[in-house]
């Protein structure tokens, strides 16, 4: 358990302007409280969220990254999220083989109506990340999740 009580995870959220950003707004209007660790980067559409941005976020010492946009079929630009979905799917494969900790990178669909879901997602991610402790991107040090992986692997 590498986490210390002092540790406050840094979470970067890349969200689309029309669904998830508004979902987060709704969470605000409904005063749904959640941890203050998330930093939202607003982009027009998940279609705009390039994998280089995610890498950059990790390089900038993000402990977890969230990518979120409109549910399939609801994209403000009709199909941006479909293109994104494919990209992410493959990108995760690449991260997996590189040994990047996939528990540090999250993908969700959150609509403008899902303020509640935004609250839950952020709370969960923050708690989870806090437990896992700071993310040493590219350090071969074994992490908590790694141990977990090992257990699953043997079982």
């Amino acid at each position: 358990m590498s986490a210390t009580p002092a540790f406050e995870p840094k979470i970067v959220a890349f969200v689309c302007n029309w669904c998830t950003y508004l979902g987060a707004d709704l969470a605000g209007t409904n005063r749904l409280e959640y941890p203050a660790n998330v930093r939202i980067i607003r982009l027009p559409c998940t279609g705009r969220i390039d994998f280089n941005l995610l890498i950059k976020a990790f390089e900038m010492k993000a402990d977890a990254v969230l990518v979120s946009g409109c549910h399939p079929g609801d994209c403000h630009y009709t199909s941006g999220n479909y293109h994104a979905r494919r990209r992410w799917m493959l990108f995760r494969e690449l991260l997996a083989i590189l040994g990047v900790d996939l528990d540090r990178i999250h993908f969700t669909w959150i609509s403008a109506a899902e303020g509640k879901k935004w609250q839950q997602v952020i709370t969960e991610i923050t708690e989870k990340t806090r437990e896992m402790g700071p993310y040493a991107y590219l350090s071969p040090a074994r992490t908590a999740t790694d141990e977990q992986w090992r257990e699953e692997a043997v079982s």
């Binding site: 970067v12 508004l22 987060a24 203050a36 930093r39 559409c45 705009r48 950059k56 630009y77 009709t78």
Partner: protein, 666 residues
Amino acid sequence: MSRIGVFTCWCGENIARTVDVERVAEAVAQIPGVRCSVHNKYMCSDPGQTMIREKIASERLDVLVVASCSPHMHLKTFRKAAGQAGINPYLVEMSNIREHCSWVHHDKEKATEKAIQLIRLSVEKVRRNRALEPIKVPVTKRALVIGGGVAGIQAALDIADTGYEVVMVEREPSIGGKMAGLSETFPTLDCSQCILTPRMVEVGQHSRIRLYSYSEVESVDGYVGNFKVTIRQKARYVDIDKCTGCGECWNCCPLKKQLSEFDYGMGTRRAIYVPFPQAVPARPVIDKNACTKLKKGGCGLCEKKCLAKAINFKDQDKLVEELVGAIIVATGYQLYRVGQDQGKRKLSGYGEYGYGRYKDVIDSLQFERLVSASGPTGGVIKRPSDGVVPNTVVFISCVGSRDNAKGLSYCSKICCMYTAKHTMLYKHKVHEGQAHVFYMDIRAGGKNYDEFVRRAIEQDGARYHRGRVSKITEENGKLIVRGADTLAAVPLTIEADMVVLAAAMRPSDGAEELAQELGVGYDEFGFFSESHPKLRPVETNAAGVFICGACHAPKDIPEAVAQASAVAGKVQVMFGHDEMTREPEIASINEQTCAACFACVRTCPYHAIEKTEIRSPKGILVKRTARVNSGLCMGCGTCVSVCPSKSADLEGFSEQQIYSMIESLV
């Protein structure tokens, strides 16, 4: 080095309660480049905005960050304010420290810290904002209406009457669409043609409407305000300008036995024909698949008879171009084909109903012709097989509709009403006749609609059975209809003289191809998709393309007409200005570095990126590159992600802006 001004808002207590606004202002003031960091109770209020304008002047600020609520709330407000103070509106960014901070956190310490960071994000972004000018797109004040049914007619007339030109394209030889073939309309039972034909004539004679009948849209290029439309005028073999519509030709044509499309095969026409007497234009067309002259070079009687010399057997398809600013799709519907072939793979027909095998099993539009005073039987209900007046008629609803197994899951909405109408019309013409209806649910929502159905049952004695029909067979001249009455919980067999199937409504043939040509979305059934089901019901996701009538979903005449007028309204708003301004936050391509892999072209949801070639003055190919059509780009930025060399970039969310935001998170 830009001079940045940061204006932090209290939003009364909304922000100040959990965010120490003073501390935020002080902290932010330390960020390099920030020349002025102040706060105010209500930034969006007049005093607040005045403060912003004053500071801009006094501190000679050139870019601004307003830290208050969601940009969806007030970005426009503050950009306007800045604009008034002489700053380019696109040099203003907002930090959302209310919805995303003060309202969702209680720990003042953390909230304040976060607020500072959020503002730092925006400061880093705004540094790299570029002054942008709204894109001005000239508007061609002419509208194209595709489809000359009741919806198209309504839209065309509304637009033309406000003084704009309209181009109408109709696939059939005459406008009028399905409504022209209906007998009487629910719930008032007023004669369909009596309502429609005057409107058709108006279209035909309107000085500002150019009608292309017997024509189809071949291709559409350009973008909102500036479409170039190519129209194929199908060879008609009759010069409609010379033709006087006297009728000599079709009266002399020896080929009398051609099945009439207008009568859905219930009646016949000649090889040269006007689909129906009130046709607009009232000019004939030659059926090249029937005409002996065109097939074998014989006959040619009509040509001899025509004093106006309007017949031209050498006629060929012509392509004409029209420039328009808006496109209205009103391509309407067709009936689901009850027989096997649906022209669409995933649908299957009702073998069990024997449509096509039993002459007296007909669909609802065929029945309309049978009861129509102008129909093949002059309005006398005679069954097709032997012309006998049927004493028992079974009407079956939901044929194709709400039948997942046959491929259509949706309700066609109007069948309940017209079936009730059919039973009445039948009863009014055959007094001793008995109408039976097999239905699943009666959906009669609408002004005087349910009353209408009750009338059919209570006054005109239609017998309604709640259940589907399983099979229809023919035995010695009778149609044996095997259904069920689930309310009585009995199987029910009725010996009928005629069966009328309320077949489902489907989009017209070619709807999907047209949608693709226009870059408009459509659902799994081929119905055009509106851009927002509640707030933008007649717009599509392709700017400048609108939809009305049954091409959008099954609907009845009043709805189609209402939608058509709504579209007209939208178009009038658009044509109210000489040019349209569009948000300048769109994509652009660095043509020097573009490798012409055209990944962007493939992924752009709006087909807004084109393949182009850069040529030297001598015309030698220098290189190929992608180029953004600023008239079409909606600024989603998908192209940026797929561009391997990042030659594509997006104003307002440029690579530089985003990266510096991320970097500011250290």
